[in-house]
């Protein structure tokens, strides 16, 4: 079984490699976005030494790393599921001897690994040429960051599976998926570190899984979370991974019974 999933991950990795043009433009897009936020934050700081608990240097590191983390955990499997449902391909997928959702998650990992190696790493090197940016020096920080990033990937994938499975009930849900995408970007801290939000919003966000997707790993990387805090963060992320399994399992069971194949 694990051989099957390893193969799925490998194939997705190779498929990504075959569509290289998308990937070159992807690196440029990430740099465009990082650049935009770099300048925006420069203008926002305007000489102030600290905002929302972050110095301008920490903010620069935060912006760069939060986008690069996004490169790894981001995927479109919800849209792939939606397409499978719309085109009726899901019927074939369901009679195959594997779990459809795990297959999607494995493919997402293949995609994530591709983007990490060919996208985030060259991207961050490219960014560090243009904007002043420091990598963490201790091996421990790197280890904590990478672990946190992997957990973040799992949480984001679970959320994507949830919105993807909704297609079984709604038939078309591009709007919801689009809304989810921008909401995850905002509430996970890509556009704005969580510490910038007003107190009540931060309290509310503490009960939601989104900041586990980006804010936690990025704070570890930017050196704004020490070792104790980091351990706590990893534990929280692990907790969310288990909590999110419940709605997925429930919805998936319903979806299998409700499935209507619309055509080929």
């Amino acid at each position: 079984m694990s051989k099957l999933y390893a193969e799925l991950i490998r194939i997705r990795f190779l498929t990504m490699l075959a569509y290289r043009v998308n990937y070159y433009s992807g690196i440029i897009i990430y740099n465009i976005n990082i650049g935009a936020y770099y300048f925006l934050w420069g203008a926002i700081y305007g000489g102030q030494p600290q905002l929302g608990g972050l110095s301008p240097e920490q903010m620069t590191a935060y912006v760069a790393i939060s986008w690069m983390s996004r490169a790894f955990y981001f995927n479109n499997i919800d849209q792939e599921i939606a397409q499978d449902v719309r085109e009726g391909k899901v019927a074939i997928e369901m009679i195959r001897p594997y779990n459809y959702l795990s297959v999607k998650a494995a493919q997402a990992l293949g995609e994530g690994m591709f983007r990490l190696f060919f996208f985030a790493i060259p991207g961050i090197l490219l960014v560090s040429l243009f904007i002043p940016f420091h990598f963490p020096t201790s091996l421990q920080t790197w280890g904590l960051y990478l672990t946190s990033l992997l957990l973040a990937f799992v949480i984001n994938t679970e959320i994507n599976l949830l919105t993807g499975v909704l297609t079984f009930f709604l038939f078309r849900n591009e709007g919801i998926m689009w809304a989810k995408r921008v909401m995850v970007d905002l509430l996970s801290g890509v556009t704005l570190p969580i510490s910038f939000f007003p107190g009540w919003a931060q309290a509310l966000l503490a009960f939601l899984p989104f900041q586990a997707i980006n804010y936690y790993p990025s704070m570890i990387f930017a050196g704004a979370a020490g070792a104790d805090k980091a351990a706590q963060v990893l534990l929280l992320q692990a907790l969310w991974i288990f909590v999110l399994l419940v709605p997925i399992a429930l919805l998936w069971r319903q979806a299998k019974q409700k499935l209507v194949v619309q055509g080929g």
Binding site: V21, S25, I29, A36, G175
Partner: protein
């Protein structure tokens, strides 16, 4: 021209028929767009909790520019939708069908993807502008309305020119280029005043991909920022110039196009 307008009515009718058969999706797309705009607003609101100005712009001025930025884009997206042009018309060969028909080919491509539901993001843009104008206690003269219409149409023409030219690239190379998403991301720079960015990006946004002309430059007129008036007045010129460039590239592309088979 009359024929195109008549066809537009026909296509619009078809559009509503298909949309109404997927009512839930129509609603979810609407919600998706609203959430997107709401979230961009949250960024501005949260940031300005911590600072009073960004460069020399206040919160409400930034909000006004953001609101203005929505309007020409919505107008453009209502009539032009090149997002999947390459996939739909070149790779699947739909362009051959277009070319055998006795109506202008660009007009047909536009008609087939007309999106009147964009009116909602146009309205939210106006609403955001209205809110900011109220907060800023802006006063308007009667001639500001025609000026507004001219500026919005000019900005929409800039979009139309840029994206028509980019879609036309597909005629020369039938593989995916990934340029359009890149441009879309650069376009989002236009949401904020250009003097936030460094010199190179300012030049890019003014002369090469003139997305400063879809946001801050025209909006500066209503904010009575006289230092930018020169660029405000340049907006219609840029609109016409870029639209003509787009049309020229498109025509060249169609002449070059030889079909992808199948």
């Amino acid at each position: 021209m009359v024929q195109i307008v008549r066809l537009f009515g026909e296509y619009l009718g078809q559009y509503f028929k298909t949309k109404l058969s997927y009512r839930a999706n129509f609603l979810s797309e609407l919600i998706g767009n609203l959430v997107f705009e709401f979230i961009n607003m949250i960024f501005i609101l949260v940031v300005f909790r911590h600072v009073a100005t960004m460069k020399d712009w206040t919160r409400d001025e930034i909000i006004f520019i953001y609101g203005f930025f929505q309007v020409p884009y919505a107008l453009f997206a209502m009539f032009f939708n090149f997002w999947d042009f390459n996939e739909r018309y070149i790779i699947r060969g739909e362009m051959d069908r277009i070319l055998t028909r006795p109506v202008n080919n660009l007009a047909q491509v536009c008609l087939e993807s007309v999106a009147p539901d964009r009116i909602f993001s146009l309205l939210t843009g106006l609403l955001i502008m209205g809110y900011a104008a109220f907060q800023l206690k802006l006063s308007f003269a009667w001639y500001d309305l025609p000026v507004f219409l001219i500026l919005v149409i000019s900005s929409a023409l800039i979009y139309a020119g840029v994206y028509t030219a980019i879609a036309a690239i597909s005629f020369f190379s039938d593989s995916r280029t990934g340029i359009a998403p890149m441009i879309w991301n650069i376009q989002n720079y236009g949401r904020y005043p250009v003097n936030v960015y460094n010199k190179a990006i300012q030049i890019l946004l003014t002369w090469i991909l003139p997305f400063a002309f879809v946001g801050v430059y025209p909006a500066a007129y209503f904010l009575r920022r006289e230092t930018w008036y020169f660029y405000t007045m340049l907006t219609p010129v840029m609109g016409i110039v870029f639209f003509c460039i787009g049309l020229t590239v498109w025509k060249m592309g169609v002449r070059k196009y030889s079909g992808a088979g199948s």
